[in-house]
């Protein structure tokens, strides 16, 4: 008998859950310091500079495109919305001008799962399902924006409702600020970091450093929060997705919301769905409500960022984000005649893309890069 050397596969040594949990709390704290530093940097640059920089976003459509492009570039709507909360908190961008940017971030974030779906291109059936699952999110967000952006521009219904809610919950302690339970701790940490640069005498240089440091911290901490939370709650995600496999409607929406709140990224949630839909384990129509739930779940990041800076306007734009995504679902999902329009449109597009695969790539580049870029250049 031939002796066979056993090669026992070792399971990866995982960081213990409680340690990972503490790590996530630490990262969240650093994330809030990042938002605070960004706010300090923007303020330090002075109103002349920032007015010139953000002049273009006074046009709502341009603001929308800025939101799309910024999110496509950083591949995370959470980073974009947290940054927008910081900008609104400083007063550089008004709530009114930030609303279209937030809506743009919603559209931009769907690029990630669209890219993921392109990986299935070699297998026709898989690709059709995957591309449909990815682009139904695009179509849903476009439909919601098409209705709610004009409504907001002409009536301010979303931002006014958000302001009412914000003031009712947080109150105004004067100067457009509210009593945030974590604001003091965040300020202490931010002051500590800012103190490291006291030796720089030029205020503009310090402001630029804070700005870069702030954005880098927001980006890096959110990346690591997402990675750690994904590991920490993987079993829970699997359990709840299993529960939603054969169900539609509210269960899916809640599952999508919970998973996204847990991993702090709608892109992660929707990207997880793509291989499941592609392999036929999850039906496109059952993935749809999970995707919509992810839209609501992703708004938590901006709410956390707003709590860190303690500005009424910052909190207002974060709440507006939540209201916009909830309103989008209420506007489209409960009504059976229009509920599946995004899915049907996505399926039609996937059918065309199946015949001419370059169309899928063309759609992705046009929708997420060319149109927003040209739009910004023309409308600014």
């Amino acid at each position: 008998m031939d002796p066979i050397e056993p090669v026992v596969r070792q399971r990866a040594a995982a960081l213990p859950g409680p340690i990972r949990g503490v790590l996530v709390i630490g990262l969240l704290y650093l994330f809030l310091i990042g938002v605070k530093l960004l706010e300090g940097g923007i303020k330090g640059l002075g109103s002349d500079f920032t007015d010139a920089l953000f002049q273009g976003v006074s046009n709502p459509v341009a603001g929308l495109f800025v939101g799309v492009l910024a999110t496509v570039l950083v591949q995370s709507s959470s980073v974009t919305t947290a940054t927008i909360v910081g900008l609104v908190g400083t007063g550089v961008v008004s709530v009114e001008h930030a609303v279209p940017m937030i809506m743009g971030a919603n559209i931009g974030t769907t690029v990630t799962n669209t890219i993921v779906s392109l990986a299935h291109m070699r297998h026709s059936d898989e690709f059709r399902r995957a591309f449909t699952a990815a682009t139904m999110h695009d179509f849903f967000n476009l439909m919601a924006v098409a209705v709610l952006l004009p409504l907001e521009v002409f009536t301010k219904v979303l931002s006014d409702t958000a302001r009412s809610i914000t003031e009712a919950i947080a109150g105004d302690i004067g100067g457009g600020r509210f009593n945030s339970p974590i604001k003091g701790a965040v300020k202490w940490g931010a002051n500590l970091v800012e103190g490291l640069f006291d030796w720089i005498s030029n205020e503009k240089v310090t402001a630029v450093i804070f700005l870069i440091l702030g954005i880098a911290l927001i980006f890096l901490t959110l990346t690591f929060i997402t990675k750690n939370m994904r590991v920490l709650v993987a079993a829970r995600i699997e359990r709840s997705l299993n529960a939603a496999l054969a169900r539609s409607g509210l269960v899916g929406i809640v599952v999508g919301m919970l998973v996204t709140v847990a991993v702090q990224s709608s892109s992660i949630t929707t990207s997880i769905l793509i291989p499941l839909v592609a392999s036929g384990i999850l039906a496109v129509r059952n993935a749809y409500p999970i995707t919509l739930g992810a839209n609501i779940g992703t708004t938590v990041t901006a709410l956390i960022a707003a709590l860190g800076i303690g500005e009424i306007d910052g909190l207002t734009i974060a709440v507006t984000h939540t209201i916009f995504n909830t309103a989008g679902i209420l506007l489209i999902y409960p009504w059976s005649k229009i509920r599946y329009i995004p899915v049907d449109l996505a399926d039609k597009l996937a059918g065309l893309a199946l015949k001419r695969k370059s169309l899928a790539l063309g759609y992705t580049l046009t929708m997420f890069v060319a149109i927003p870029l040209i739009g910004i250049l023309v409308l600014r």
């Binding site: 066979i4 056993p6 596969r9 079993a235 699997e238 709840s240 299993n242 998973v259 384990i281």
Partner: protein, 225 residues
């Protein structure tokens, strides 16, 4: 439901899959015992046929369940347990085949095979006994994830394979009645396949993914790298 998200603890997907594989093996052993009971004197019966069909269906459903769970696991945690995910995706087929070949043994009784009057009944029965024991041992070893015991079983089962081939060859060269020769050839062929698939299951505990399934090859053809 949705509240599953808040339920802490519990098994991981990989642990659940391992548990399902063990249940599948026990179900396969049940099919084997029922089928062998028919070949060794029981003959075919409606009840046995119905029971075999039901248990075989349970094995098939479990196989699909395992695959679905593994795809879900790979989608949510692509880099975690990758080797186990791929290995189990492969060996679940082996366990399903163990059930299938066991069911095929019943076909022998269905077509009229009956070893009760065979002159070498004790020999034939000893093969039945040892393969049945191998299946149970494999299920227990897999449940305990005992790599050393798995290696022992692989080596032990490896010793059976040549024996089956010799018996198949003897059946071919037999001058006895054709139905008896065919029944014996198929009997040993099925036992060999069951043994080989059980060995494949055991390899999931001891070899890297790329070497799964290479235990039913001729010794000189095996990939040892």
């Amino acid at each position: 439901m949705v509240f599953d998200f808040f339920r802490g603890g519990g098994q991981s997907t990989i642990e659940e899959v391992e548990e399902t594989l063990v249940v599948m093996m026990h179900n396969a052993r049940h099919v084997y015992d029922e089928a062998m009971g028919a070949v060794f004197g029981g003959g075919k019966s409606k009840e046995t046929k119905k029971d075999l069909k039901k248990t075989d269906k349970e094995i098939n459903v479990a196989q699909q369940e395992v695959r679905r769970a593994l795809v879900m696991h790979a989608s949510v945690s692509p880099a975690v347990d990758l080797a186990d995910t791929l290995a189990y995706m492969s060996v679940v087929k082996d366990v399903e085949r163990v059930g299938d070949y066991s069911k095929n043994l019943y076909d022998l009784a269905k077509y009229g095979a009956d070893f009760t009057t065979a002159a070498d009944f004790d020999d034939l029965d000893s093969y039945r006994e040892r393969v049945g024991q191998l299946m149970t041992d494999a299920a227990n070893v897999f449940a305990s994830r005992d790599a050393e015991a798995a290696q022992y079983l692989i080596d032990k089962a490896d010793g059976f394979l040549d024996d089956y081939d010799a018996n198949v060859k003897a059946a071919f060269q037999s001058v006895g009645p054709a139905p008896d020769a065919v029944a014996r050839a198929l009997y040993f062929r099925f036992l060999k396949r069951i043994t080989a698939h059980v060995m494949n299951l055991m390899t999931a505990l001891v070899v890297p993914v790329h070497r799964l399934d290479y235990y039913d090859e001729a010794k000189e053809d095996r990939v040892e790298s």
